[in-house]
């Protein structure tokens, strides 16, 4: 895409007269005015008329909590209009000893760890309240207190196993339907393709919703809602543009895009599950894991569907499986080690954009045929139904 536009510039250049010094001067003028305006704002401070003596706006977001035998550690991010100072910390409505690291006022966007030697109780809820020097308060709750898993080889390998089960295995199972799917006729094909559109539409809505939820939890400085929308739009446009280089994406190219979108989705979900582990919030029972697995089998079918017309080389199957399912493992690791809601939101938003890119270019004419309608309905219903197994 970049080469195309630069070629255009080069070919267009000769028809335009050489930029003269006068033209350059016209470029300097607005910049000089801008510099002047900034200088005036800083030195004359005309905004002081708006200073009504109100205290600065303060904001504090809780990004991570770590519970251990030493007590509780909380990672907070400041988002005030001015640097803000944490004065006292309350745990369960009691002032408590704490240490802040790094100490001192927190600039906009800066983070600090608050360490509290608090005797938290397994399985119970604990509430935190931070009071700043202006008396403003910021609250956070741990719904169920459990020790934060310490990252160790055994924990990481256990998480990898979980990632394989919820990410890689279902995609592989889905792709195993490939030979069977090749045998279906034209109507069957339409049904399958429409079904994947339905599945992906569900996933897109699901991922976008989750992304917006997580964006709401992240610090205001990240402008979560805008970040999610922009990331989704960017990934959508990028995939469309990349796909169009060789005409409308089809076959293996399309399958790869779908796998990539699913991979990003799994990364986002992996991050969220890993973070839930780290926060002790996940009671991931066998049933829940099973639900995820069944839910995700369709991802394999999604990838297989566009490749039915022409069989790709065999190695592409494991490669696509890894591309789509592998990020779940990565997400689990990252999520449990270093997590903040904005990263999960970002990954899910990129995934949602990828699903949207997949839905693009579908002929409207074929939409009204029975196999297509049935496929769409089945796809959405199946996803909705299996999602019931995992939503808590």
């Amino acid at each position: 895409m970049n080469d195309v536009s630069s070629t255009q510039t080069i070919t267009a250049a000769p028809s335009v007269p050489q930029p003269s010094r006068v033209a350059l001067a016209w470029l300097i003028l607005p910049l000089a005015v801008l510099a002047l305006a900034i200088t005036w704002l800083v030195t004359a401070n005309p905004l002081r008329t708006f200073d009504n003596g109100a205290p600065p706006v303060e904001n504090l977001t809780f990004e991570r909590t770590v519970l251990s035998s030493d007590g509780i550690e909380i990672l907070v991010r400041a988002g005030g209009s001015e640097p803000m100072t944490i004065a006292q910390v309350l745990v369960d409505d009691a002032y408590w000893q704490f240490a802040q690291e790094p100490s001192g006022p927190l600039a906009r966007g800066a983070t600090a760890w608050i360490r509290l030697p608090y005797p938290w109780v397994l399985g119970e809820a604990h509430a935190f309240k931070i009071i700043t020097n202006t008396g403003a308060t910021f609250e956070h709750e741990i719904a169920v207190a459990v020790p934060t898993p310490v990252s160790s080889v055994s924990m990481l390998s256990a998480q990898a196993l979980l990632g394989v089960i919820v990410g890689i295995v279902p995609v592989a199972i889905g792709l195993m339907f490939y030979p069977a799917l090749r045998g279906v006729g034209r109507n069957g094909m339409n049904f399958l393709l429409a079904m994947t559109v339905g599945l992906l539409a569900f996933l897109m809505i699901d991922a976008a919703g989750e992304a917006f939820d997580l964006a709401g939890e992240s610090a205001a400085i990240f402008q979560g809602q805008a970040m999610v929308a922009l990331a989704a739009a960017a990934s959508f446009l990028l995939l469309i543009a990349a796909g169009r280089r060789g005409g409308t994406p089809a076959g293996l190219t399309l399958a790869t895009f779908i796998a990539l979108g699913i991979g990003l989705h799994n990364l986002g979900e992996g991050l969220a599950i890993g973070a839930a582990f780290a926060a002790g919030a996940a009671g991931l029972g066998t049933f829940l894991v099973l639900g995820f697995t069944i839910h995700n089998i369709t991802e394999g079918i999604d990838i297989a569907a566009p490749m039915l017309k022409k069989r790709p080389p065999l190695w592409t199957f494991p490669a696509l499986t890894l591309l789509a399912g592998g990020p779940a493992v990565l997400g689990l690791w990252i999520g449990s080690l270093a997590y903040a809601p904005q990263w999960s939101a970002l990954a899910l938003a990129i995934g949602a954009g990828a699903y949207l890119a997949r839905s693009d270019g579908r002929g409207a004419a074929a939409l009204l045929s029975w196999p297509v309608m049935a496929g769409l309905a089945f796809g959405v219903t199946f996803m909705y139904g299996t999602a019931m197994l995992v939503k808590v």
């Binding site: 004065a87 006292q88 409505d93 000893q97 704490f98 700043t132 008396g135 308060t137």
Partner: protein, 312 residues
Amino acid sequence: MMTVGDVDETRNGFDTSKMLTEWETGTVSDLPDGRTQHTFVMEAVDKEIEIAPGVMFPAWTYNGKVPGPALRATEGERRKIVFRNYDSQPHSIHFHGIHSARMDGVPGAGVVNPGEEFVYEFDAKPFGCHFYHCHALPLKRHIHKGLYGLFVVDPDPARHAEHADVARSRLLGTPENAGWQELAMVMNAFDTNFDDENEVYAVNTVAHAYTKRPIRILRDKPVRIYLANAVEFDPINSFHLHGNFFDYFDQGTTLTPTSRTVDLITQCQGQRGILEFSFKDHEPGLYMFHAHQSEFAELGWMSMFEVVEQVA
């Protein structure tokens, strides 16, 4: 546990350890009828005060202090309070006591606009442990922002022949009174984020002040506490003493206790009373006192007496 760090009491302009024993008796003048008149000057000023380490509160104060000065007079004396309002809000002083409607310090009778002045005049009666506060509207806000204080009227022994010795021990300036350790305490709280719930509780404003610097008590000398409850938003407050029991004089308007041998009393908003006890038979050490609402205690209303041997 406790708040972390220390409050800069120099910047606050009032010292929590000194305000326990600081009584304002006013300037004394003689009236034509032979009685004495005590004149007090009270000024309403707004001021940022540090109520817990690092936590600033935009307070409204009498004379720059929260609680306001502990006023003290003798039963029957004439009192004249010159009140000037230097704040940007209308304020008043409403005294609990016997006085005329004109002197009540409520809207229409002694609420003073910014930059203006009003003189409250009345006889100090009845004797007891009383309270004063701003009665401008909205009431909750004018009180919780810091406009309140103790107003103690000592009994005149001449008027209470049957308990003259008790009255003398309560009368500031007598040798009998000098045999007591008297302490002025106002239980208060602060809603720092203005959500109509208190974040900080204390006795005399600064959270945990007397835990970090315990109040020294001489073992042989009996203790008398003038206690008032200025907490807003929470209906009641309480005072509980460790390792000891006390006699309690509700509102302080009697010379015999209204409750004997108790270790816990409750006060609703604006209630007050006198506590009398002794550590004479105790071994020296740290004795806690605090609100028995554990929530208040953990939010700052936790204190210590340090009982020491009489120093020669």
